[in-house]
C-alpha cells in the first residue's frame, strides 16, 4: 500500500507535463482541426534555447520566459511556413508535414547543440521531501512544476472564458463561418491558437528537462503520452487534456513501479485503443468534434 501511494505521488509532476503537452495538442486541434506531431519537437527546440540561456546567465526564470516567447514564435513560423501552404490543398498532407517539421527540428537541434543528452539544472531542489519521519517521492521541484501547471491551466481557462480574445477563439473553433459573419478575424484567431499552443508546449519542455535529460529525441516518448491523453480527453477539451494528462502520468508511474518503465508506452497505446473502441468521441469531447 505504501508503494502504491508512493508510485501515485511520483506520477503527478510527470502527469502535469504530459497535461501541458496534451493542452498544446488540443489548442492546435481547436484552431486548425489537425494534430501537430511537431509539437514536442518545437518544445524540445525551445528547451534547448532555455538551456543555453540558463547556461549563459544562470537565471531559470529568464530561461523559461525566453522559451515561452520562442515557443509562441516558433508555433507561428511552423504554421505559416508549412501548415498553411500545405493545408490549403490537402488536410492529411498537412498532418504528415508536421512529422516532417518534427524531423527537421530534431536534425536542426542536433546540428546546433549536438546529439548527446545534456542535463538541465532545476531551479529548486529535486530531492524527495522529508516529512513525518520518511522521505516522500515528491520534491520541491515537483511542487514547482505542479504550481506552474496549475497557474497556466487557470490562466488559459480565464483567457478562454473571460476575454474577448478567448471568446473569438472558441467561436472560430466551433463555427468559423458564424464567427466570420460576426466580425471575428478567424485567421488571426487560428494564428493565436498556434502561438499559445507553442508557448504552452515550451513551458512543458522546460519543466520536464531537469527530470529527464535533454537530447534531440528525448521528448519523443512524451508525444505518445500527450497524444493519448489528448485523444482520450476528446481532443477539443482543455479540461479533458489536463485530466487525462495527469491520469496518464499516474498510470505510467504505477506501471513503471510495479513492472518496468519500458511497458508504459504499451499501456498508453492499449488505453488509446480501448478509448477509440469504446468511446470514440473521447470522454470530454462533443459528439462529432473529432470528425473533420
Amino acid at each position: 500500500m505504501t508503494n502504491f501511494i508512493d508510485y501515485l505521488l511520483g506520477g503527478f509532476s510527470n502527469g502535469a507535463v504530459i497535461a501541458l503537452m496534451a493542452l498544446a495538442l488540443v489548442l492546435v486541434w481547436r484552431s486548425t482541426r489537425m494534430v501537430n506531431f511537431a509539437q514536442v519537437g518545437q518544445a524540445m527546440f525551445t528547451t534547448y534555447v532555455a538551456l543555453t540561456i540558463q547556461q549563459e546567465t544562470g537565471n531559470w526564470l529568464l530561461a523559461l520566459v525566453v522559451a515561452v516567447g520562442a515557443g509562441a514564435v516558433l508555433g507561428v513560423i511552423v504554421f505559416f511556413l508549412v501548415i498553411r501552404p500545405v493545408k490549403n490543398s490537402d488536410s492529411t498532407g498537412a498532418i504528415i508535414a508536421t512529422f516532417g517539421v518534427l524531423i527537421a527540428l530534431q536534425a536542426g537541434a542536433g546540428m546546433i547543440w549536438g546529439g548527446d543528452p545534456q542535463g538541465f539544472i532545476p531551479p529548486v531542489d529535486n530531492a524527495g521531501l522529508e516529512f513525518a519521519g520518511r522521505i516522500w517521492p515528491i520534491s520541491l521541484y515537483d511542487i514547482l512544476v505542479l504550481s506552474v501547471t496549475a497557474a497556466l491551466v487557470i490562466g488559459l481557462t480565464l483567457l478562454f472564458t473571460k476575454t474577448s480574445l478567448g471568446l473569438s477563439m472558441r467561436a472560430s473553433a466551433f463555427n468559423p463561418e458564424v464567427a466570420r459573419l460576426s466580425g471575428v478575424r478567424v485567421n488571426r484567431m487560428l494564428i493565436s491558437g498556434w502561438a499559445i499552443a507553442g508557448a504552452t508546449g515550451a513551458i512543458g519542455g522546460v519543466l520536464i528537462a531537469p527530470v529527464s535529460t535533454i537530447s534531440p529525441n528525448s521528448f519523443d516518448i512524451l508525444l505518445v503520452f500527450a497524444f493519448t491523453a489528448a485523444v482520450i480527453g476528446g481532443l477539443d477539451s482543455l479540461i479533458g487534456a489536463v485530466t487525462f494528462g495527469i491520469g496518464t502520468g499516474l498510470v505510467i508511474s504505477l506501471v513503471s513501479g510495479y513492472s518496468d518503465s519500458g511497458n508504459a508506452p504499451i499501456i498508453a497505446l492499449v488505453l488509446l485503443a480501448l478509448n477509440l473502441l469504446l468511446k470514440p468521441d473521447g470522454v470530454f469531447g462533443h459528439h462529432g468534434a473529432r470528425s473533420v
Binding site: 474577448s164 471568446l167 473569438s168 472558441r170 467561436a171 466551433f174 463555427n175 463561418e177 458564424v178 464567427a179 466570420r180 459573419l181 460576426s182 466580425g183 471575428v184 478575424r185 478567424v186 462533443h286
Partner: protein, 234 residues
Amino acid sequence: MLETVDLCVSYGAVKALSGMNLTVPRGEVTAVIGANGAGKSTLMRTLAGLVTPQSGQVLFNGRSIAGNKPEDIVRNGLALVPEGRSTIPELTVEENLRLGGLWRDRSDRGASKNLVFDLFPILGERASMRADTLSGGERQQLAIGRALMSDPKCLLLDEPSLGLAPLIVTQILELVSRLAAETNLAVLLVEQNAVTALRVATTGVVLNLGEVVKSGPAHEISSDEELRHAYLGY
C-alpha cells in the same frame, strides 16, 4: 442603402444568379421569395461576402463591397443571419450575443444588448444558459439578436422560417419589421415561405432560377394568382 447591379454568381458551370438587380431601402422589409434553387441563399451569401460574384456590383451606402471579407462587411454595418442553426450551441446565450459585436466599444455594445433584450426578452432570461438548451424559435431570436449586436444598418435574414412553427415565425418577423420602421433599418428577407414573408414586407421580389421575374409592392405580389401558381407553388 443596399443595391446590386447586374450581379452574376456561378458555381463552376452552374449559374446561380444571372444579372440580378435589387434595391433594399431603409426603414422597411424587402422580401425575396422563390422556390428551392432560385438563388436566394446564394444572393445572401454573396452580399455577406462568403461568395465572390463573377461580375456585377454590390453597393452598400454607395460603396462597392463585392469581394470584401465577411468580417469587414459586418463591421461596416451589413449583417447576415444565415440559414438554419446559426447560433453556436456550445456557447451561452450571452456569449453568442457578445460575439456579435466584439470589436465595438463596450458602451455601444451595452446599448445594443439592451435593445436586443427589449426586443427578445426571453434572451435576457436565458442569458447564462447554453444556446443548445433553447427552442428553435428562441435560437432564431438569438441569431437575429447576435446580428443586431453589430449595430447593422442593413440586416439580411436567410430563411428564418426554416423548421419553425408558422405562428412563431410571424411573431419574430413582425418584431423585425417594427424594428426596421422604428430604427430606419434596412431588412432583406429571403424566404421560401412566401405567405409569411409578403405579410411583413413592403416590397416583394420573385426570384426564379437566378433571375428576378417580378418585383413590386408586397400586397400586389401576394394577390397575383398567376405568379403564385407559376413560381411560388400555392
